[in-house]
């Protein structure tokens, strides 16, 4: 008399064993998101700051329209421009990170296994210290009396305006997110069978052709996850544009921050966050569909 084995696998815990994981997941990822989405549909109190629990889509309308003094909604491109500038800056960061990271990742991937481990560890060293501290270090480097200007003066090349420029902001972004590009690229290249490159040479391909036609296509999963991992945080970046760029150009990151600060418009800040979220979600969906169609494996991990 054998009792049917109700799908229980030996050594497997019952379903409620995953409860802690579910609770943690809900609390730390879905919870804050839910609050933001809820806030974005609420009303701003007259004196600003906080929210009034009353449903409205005003916050979303604010992103594209302003009320003229007679009460009509007039199209206003100011926030679209902020958004566009952020996209451009994030795209530039992603592109430059890729150009810098690819040779580095390829070089690491072709070392001996022991050296590879050491080099990967070295790439993660920036993670060991706080981002703010590292950004302040860049400020010291770029400042009027900073290391670069001192050297430049000593060489008789004069002084340069470096800190609080777009360039500094961009530099900060590239510096911050470079490891997020290097690591996925490295992991897709370290699995690369370099005998394929030899087969390429054997069939008459020069070095650059092998790189372009064999190595690059096979590193595609790494290129995509690296690009997403750089583009997404770079789009909403706050620290670098403010501390290194001097906050002179308005980007989404500091626009949102100011809504919860000086401008005291929480629903609008929340709505902006939701818009970014939705756009990045669409972006991921597109990548996902493309990956499914081409059979490319894309994972969002380092």
């Amino acid at each position: 008399m054998s009792e049917p084995n109700r799908g229980r696998t030996p050594g497997r815990l019952p379903w409620f064993a995953s409860l802690p994981a579910l609770v943690i997941g809900a609390l730390f990822t879905i919870g804050p998101l839910a609050v933001i989405v809820a806030f974005s549909f609420m009303t701003r109190p007259a004196q600003g700051g906080g929210v009034v629990y009353q449903f409205t889509t005003d916050a979303y309308r604010t992103s594209l329209f302003t009320k003229s003094f007679n009460g009509d909604l007039v199209f206003n491109s100011a926030y679209l421009e902020v958004f566009w500038r952020s996209v451009v800056q994030a795209t530039i960061s992603t592109a430059i990170c890729f150009v810098l990271a690819f040779p580095l990742a390829l070089w690491i991937a072709t070392r001996t296994p022991r050296v590879q481990n050491l080099l990967v560890l070295a790439v993660t060293i920036p993670f060991w210290t706080n981002l703010l501290v590292r950004t302040y270090a860049w400020m010291l480097v770029l400042a009027k009396d900073g290391v670069i200007n001192q050297a430049s003066r000593a060489l008789g090349l004069g002084e340069h305006e470096l800190l609080y420029t777009d360039l500094a902001s961009q530099l900060g972004l590239i510096y911050t997110f470079l490891p997020f590009m290097v690591l996925p690229l490295y992991s897709s290249l370290s699995g690369f069978d370099f005998r394929l490159a030899e087969a390429g040479y054997d069939l008459g391909a020069h070095k650059f052709t092998v790189l372009r036609r064999i190595i690059l296509p096979m590193a595609r999963p790494g290129i995509i996850s690296g690009s997403l991992l750089v583009f997404m945080p770079a789009l909403g970046s706050y620290v670098q544009p403010v501390l290194l760029g001097g906050g002179k150009v308005l980007l989404i990151g500091n626009l949102i921050a100011s809504q919860f600060g000086d401008s005291r418009n929480w629903p609008f800040g929340a709505a902006l966050s939701v818009i970014i979220l939705a756009l990045l979600g669409l972006c991921l969906l597109g990548v996902g569909l493309w990956a499914r169609r081409t059979g490319t494996k894309v994972s969002l991990s380092l």
Partner: protein, 375 residues
Amino acid sequence: MPNAPVIGTTRPAEVVARENGLTIGNARKLFATPEGGVVKALDGVSLQIRDGEFFVMLGPSGCGKTTLLRAIAGLEVLDSGEIYLGRDRIDSLPAYARPVNTVFQSYALFPHLTVAQNIAFGLQMERLPKPEIAARVEEMMALVRLDGLGGRLPSQLSGGQQQRVALARALAKRPRVLLLDEPLAALDLKLRRGMQDELRRLQRTTGVTFVFVTHDQEEALSLGDRIAVFSNGVPVQVGTAEEIYEQPVNRFVADFIGESNFLAAEINDDGDFRVADGPWRELSEPVLPAMDGTVTLAVRPERLVVDGTAPELVRGALAEVVYMGTDLRIRVSLADGTSLAIRVSPPFEQLHLTPGAEVVVGAEPSHLHPLAGER
């Protein structure tokens, strides 16, 4: 003067080989081991491979076969030595500029390209016009019998099919020499037999010089027009399958190719020999015995008889009889403790073999090969 007129009517094979074939001169290559030592992967290899022949390099694992193949392909740089293709020295050319292509042991198919794209890759590197590439790809797929699979990815093919793609990809370039590094090692026995026939057919129809590496002696014997047996980074014997099997130059070759018995024979002042307490017999060829007056004779198990049809060599006790269907494997223990392996072909119904009984082992003189430089 590379195209100087050649005077004379018949020319020796070596000269022809030097003019058209692949010539390797004193190739040497050392590798540093992780333990800090060095390995002599190639220890002065000189070979002459004729144009259009199926040349097999045979040897145990680690004897330098792959290294030599990679050096010919241009994927490994020799420490010293020369490689000529016809009269052109090619060892200084980069891999992509050599008219030589490789079928890799791992196949090394590009996983992101389809079968047709894999085959077309090398032709695209030559910047051939698109219609010609398409035609050549079709032709190659028909040649290796892969018609209709052009749109598949390598991961959607069986091992044997991947093997064919690798062959087609290399042959599409119309190389002067095709290098094959243990291409059949990953296939199961039945598929391997089929592919061996296929390779012979491809070699005959294309006329391309094949240099085929294997550690499987049976494969080498069945495929090679000529075979080079490698040991420790040098070819110790080069010859046809028959030469290598019937006249092995040393114990290594006799042992590695097929099965051999090695008999220590005593030689007297008349130049006669005897094995253990067997009768004195005349040698078929003069040999120089070692210092202690002995010589090693190699003899194949199938060349020994127990039915008295050949002159007596030695007597011994029948130790074991194993019925193998196509033959009988017999072991005979000699008085000095050594044992002989003997293979008897059918019909063996008339043989009455009782274990423990004394048997007379005989052999024709021409089947006993004194091995040079060994006791």
